[in-house]
Point group: C2
Chain length 194, copies 2
Amino acid sequence: MAAVAGHEDTRTRLLATALKLFTEHGVEGTSLQMIADELGVTKAAVYYHFKTKDEITEAVVEPGLRELESIVAAAARQRRPGARIDHLLAGFVDVVVRHRALVALFSGDPGVARALEKHFFRKESFMTGMMTILTGPDPDAARVVAVHAALGGIALAGGAQELARFSDDVLRESLLDVGRKLLGRPRRRPAVPS
Amino acid sequence: MAAVAGHEDTRTRLLATALKLFTEHGVEGTSLQMIADELGVTKAAVYYHFKTKDEITEAVVEPGLRELESIVAAAARQRRPGARIDHLLAGFVDVVVRHRALVALFSGDPGVARALEKHFFRKESFMTGMMTILTGPDPDAARVVAVHAALGGIALAGGAQELARFSDDVLRESLLDVGRKLLGRPRRRPAVPS
DNA sequence: GTCTATAATACGATAGAC
DNA sequence: GTCTATCGTATTATAGAC
């Protein structure tokens, strides 16, 4: 790890800078010049680490996306439908909290979807997989809307600038509460025995 | 009305085309060339109707934004805190349903906020006004998160492509339900007398 | 009201020196 | 690993004919 720290460090700083600018101005609204300036290098230096801008976009969202994929897969393996929902909700919220702005970026920015399409990742089918677990079979309109609002609301709230001051634990519990209410999964321990 | 139809029609078609492309590719990801091509005219023709791209962005979002502003003002005039919340929620959902993709665009696209800033509209202070009504005074973290998720979830679900098939009435009732659950406003008529 | 033509600039991306 | 310099293209925007 330490041996490649010199290389890894610049690459990591680059991705962190890109994520910050992407959430601020959108992927298409962020130029390589802006990234280079923020990093304190030239455009050519950026191109040493990544061959194209799409490759940067991909690398920014990849870690969070991989986590989400494995969570969906693990949730699908649960036997009871309720357990599938609980597993997916807890995992989704956890990824949102630990990556904050990333999931909101993935959910809302069309530039991300366009960049991923070129490397054979279909956002639409991925979302359908999550939806199927959360809605169940033959859902009515209200359920489909509620699930959409839950995923969107959790992602957007997790990436909101005004909520950055909250700790991971506080944000996680609050977002779990949002998901439970919208998905009809009341919590087990009502907190107060009285 | 009919006398200016020739002018109004092209301008209206232009705004509808712009909104469609903005939601598909984002504001910064949409060029005037794309708008002109979709309209079947040249870029110069587009510039006859609007002096700058920011002016187009502004004109696209303006109608929905004006409605939201008057709804917030009307909600603030309600006496009881619960009535303020109910008024704002119903109005917000109604605007989302009638304009669909527009509110999601306003909520999520950084290009919109940037375009509006130049004409003295501060998105941040506008959102704070809505938040204050919905959270009440001295809200805890869970409440702030819930309100954020409610507004974001409703806006995002309203603009979702997969929910476009639902009628206005069905979508409105479903989104109201989302808002009521997250804001702690259970509905009056529980539907089934039994 | 829409066109052709063009200016000025910014973009993504590459070549080659150090 | 970062630089200077540059290529080709696309961008916003304008001028002037019809």
